[in-house]
């Protein structure tokens, strides 16, 4: 993992020191009721986020990946307090959000950039007004806020003299996303949550914005939570990665380790589903069959077991928790990695880490 930039050491807002996680999430739960099912019977609930715990370290980029419905965007919205969690606590730099740290103060330090660059800007405000809106709400004088907006526009690569007075519809998608990034930075946040922030951009523009994000992270001493369905972009951007499946964390670890040798069978299948970029090595067999299941009635035990090629009867009864199978490897929630779990593969655990990918696709490797 990358070391925290030097700016952190002198950051007056830093309370707990570099060893203290910037954000600690404990047992986060969010269920949404499903309306209108049944006449007398109660409707079901969507278990969008179901017991998620993780840390974001100071100065790192934490990637979050998973299929649609895995809870990655709900997690982001919970972190932003855009929706209220049912259970769980959010601790920002040692202070409990909403108790020790007032919400307004927390929101100033955590900002978010969304996928749809157009929908997230007010169409009736100029770019400059959009960027100065937050600082002025938080009490900055108008002239200072405008100077700041111009500075930020320049920092994200938009000439303020040309762009400050424009409206969102006068910009291209890439330019609008730069504006959204500038606006997110206007309150000097420490954590930026990027929810599919580059997914809607053309590939040639995506590369420009990724470079910009890397520059800004170094310049402003930022910490990123980078949510994306594009595993290639995540591999390139992140220090650590969290793989989510149906509202739970399937695997969490150093990006390089997870991408080189995934511990969880789901991570392995997800990686194997990516297009190969080599016409002579095209995918022969789909690593997973069927669509991601519905989070309304998630499977019992390990939620991945109905689609997992390593599944055994025990997987339907016990829900695995995150464990590291060996020091230095990532943490994965899989019974095959827990000694004495009752899974036959777990019996061989003193041996080297099993080659999950070859077990996943016995036909393909045969």
């Amino acid at each position: 993992m990358s070391t925290a930039p030097d700016t952190l050491a002198t950051d007056p807002r830093d309370r707990g020191g570099p060893a203290q996680s910037l954000l600690s999430i404990n047992g986060l739960v969010k269920h949404f009721p499903v309306k209108g099912s049944g006449f007398f019977g109660r409707g079901g609930v969507v278990r969008a986020v179901d017991g998620v715990s993780f840390d974001i370290r100071k100065g790192e980029t934490l990637g979050v990946v998973g299929e649609s419905g895995c809870g990655k965007s709900t997690t982001a919205r919970l972190l932003m307090h855009l929706i209220k969690p049912d259970h769980g606590e959010i601790i920002f730099d040692g202070e409990k959000v909403g108790i020790d740290l007032p919400l307004s103060e927390y929101r100033r330090q955590v900002q978010m950039v969304f996928q749809d660059s157009y929908a997230s800007l007010n169409p009736r405000l100029t770019i400059e007004d959009s960027i100065t809106f937050g600082p002025r709400i938080h009490g900055m004088a108008e002239t200072a806020a405008r100077a700041k907006a111009h500075d930020l526009l320049a920092r994200v690569g938009l000439d303020p003299s040309r762009f400050a007075g424009r409206y969102p519809h006068e910009l291209s998608g890439g330019q609008r996303q730069r504006v959204n990034i500038a606006r997110a930075l206007a309150l000097d946040p420490r954590l930026l949550i990027l929810d599919e922030a580059v997914s809607a951009l053309d590939k040639s523009v995506e590369a420009q914005v990724l470079n910009l994000l890397q520059d800004l992270k170094a310049d402003f001493g930022l910490t990123y939570m980078f949510i994306s369905h594009d595993l290639n972009v995540v591999r390139f951007m992140v220090d650590r990665v969290m793989v989510m499946y149906l509202g739970t964390v399937a695997e969490l670890g150093e990006g390089e380790a997870v991408f080189a040798s995934p511990s969880h069978p789901y991570t392995a299948a997800l990686l194997a589903s990516m297009p190969k970029m080599d016409p002579s090595e095209r995918t022969i067999e789909a690593p997973l069959t069927g669509d991601p299941p519905n989070p309304i009635n998630p499977p019992s035990g390990c939620r991945f077991h109905p689609r997992c090629k390593l599944a055994e009867p025990v997987c339907a009864t016990i829900q695995p928790s995150l464990t590291a199978s060996a020091p230095g490897t990532s943490q994965a929630a899989c019974l095959a990695l827990v000694p004495q779990s009752g899974h036959t593969l777990a019996a061989r655990l003193s041996l080297p880490v099993p080659d999950i990918e070859s077990m996943l696709m016995p036909e393909a490797s045969a």
Binding site: S2, S204, N232, F236, S273, P275, K276, A286, G290
Partner: protein
């Protein structure tokens, strides 16, 4: 091999509001029987407009289309209204990015498929139903008999996409047009649909014209790739040639900026600027303002597509 689709000098100009937009500019291409051509490009490159022209889907009032399109012997532009109706679904059919918008929400999938079959063929409703069931099995929909009675909203995204493929194949077309059919899907489902399309293409001897912005997807499905930029084809060739020896600076830039090829923390090589405004294209090569090889000659004349060895064609005076 014979060409099932041949397009010559296709130009499409939209004249709806404001300045006319030339979305496709003198595009010529050919698709061999039983092969997959991918049109690769960013938004506004004209890839979808080219695709839609093959079925004459552009509104006549607000678009001007010139050039020649021959599909399996039919002159698409010269056909009468009933004539084009016979071609649609029968000879050429299409699948879209968003099946929820392409399927009719108030009819079951079975009804939609049998309707199509009955429109084109002289069969009984029972025979049409049997064919629909067979199609659902072919696109690997589990419990097909039950799913034929389902409405589109009752199915997941991947299943809807399979159902739309079944609908498109209902009258055994020779050409399948695919407009970003996997873009809205999760990676795990996307690869399933790509493998399905590849299997169907082999089994039925289909020709496919597949539009995408994603090089990774193109590599998984294409035999040939045509790269489009600002309404023109700038490079075309076999997948391997495009991927390993790209000759147009735009294709080179696109491949160089891929994150797959970068190490974590590297600076990505980028193409400066953004895709051009189609209402105000520069007089010469449309890529010239973003290109690092630009000379005065580039700004004077639109470079023509020159075919070299192995049918690898490129429209750049410096290539």
């Amino acid at each position: 091999m014979s060409n099932l689709v041949s397009i010559e000098g296709l130009t499409v100009t939209f004249t709806g509001r404001g300045k006319p937009v030339r979305a496709v500019d003198h595009v010529s291409l050919e698709v061999e029987k039983g092969s997959v051509l991918v049109l690769l490009g960013e938004s506004g490159s004209g890839k979808s407009v080219t695709l839609r022209s093959l079925l004459r889907l552009h509104p006549e009032k607000t678009s001007k289309v010139s050039g020649r399109i021959i599909v399996d012997g039919h002159d698409i532009m010269a056909l009468s209204k009933t004539g084009i109706g016979d071609v649609r679904g029968r000879t050429v059919s299409m699948i879209f990015q968003e099946p929820m918008l392409a399927l009719d929400p108030v009819y079951t999938l079975g009804q939609q498929i049998t309707e199509t079959i009955l429109r084109h063929e002289n069969v009984t409703p029972e025979q049409a139903h049997a064919r629909a069931l067979e199609l659902f099995e072919k696109v690997q929909i589990p419990s097909p008999e039950r799913r034929l009675n389902a409405y589109p909203h009752e199915m997941s995204g991947g299943m809807r996409q399979r159902a739309m493929i079944a609908l498109a194949l209902a009258c055994r077309p020779k050409v399948l047009l695919a407009d970003e059919p996997t873009t809205a899907l999760d990676a795990t489902v996307q690869i399933q649909i790509l493998l399905l399309l590849r299997a169907l293409q082999r089994e039925l001897g289909l020709s496919i014209v597949f539009v995408t912005h994603d090089i990774g997807v193109a590599v998984e499905i294409a035999d040939k790739i045509a790269v489009m930029y600002a309404g023109r084809i700038v490079e075309s060739g076999s997948v391997a040639d495009i991927l390993h020896t790209p000759r147009h600076p735009y294709t080179q830039g696109l491949l160089a900026s891929r994150v797959e090829r970068a190490k974590k923390g590297d600076r990505l090589k980028t193409i400066p600027g953004s895709p051009p405004d189609l209402t105000a294209l520069p007089p010469g090569c449309a890529f010239a303002p973003r290109c690092d090889k630009t000379t005065a000659a580039c700004r004077e004349q639109v470079p023509s597509l020159v075919t070299g060895a192995y049918d690898h064609a490129v429209a750049c005076i410096h290539a």
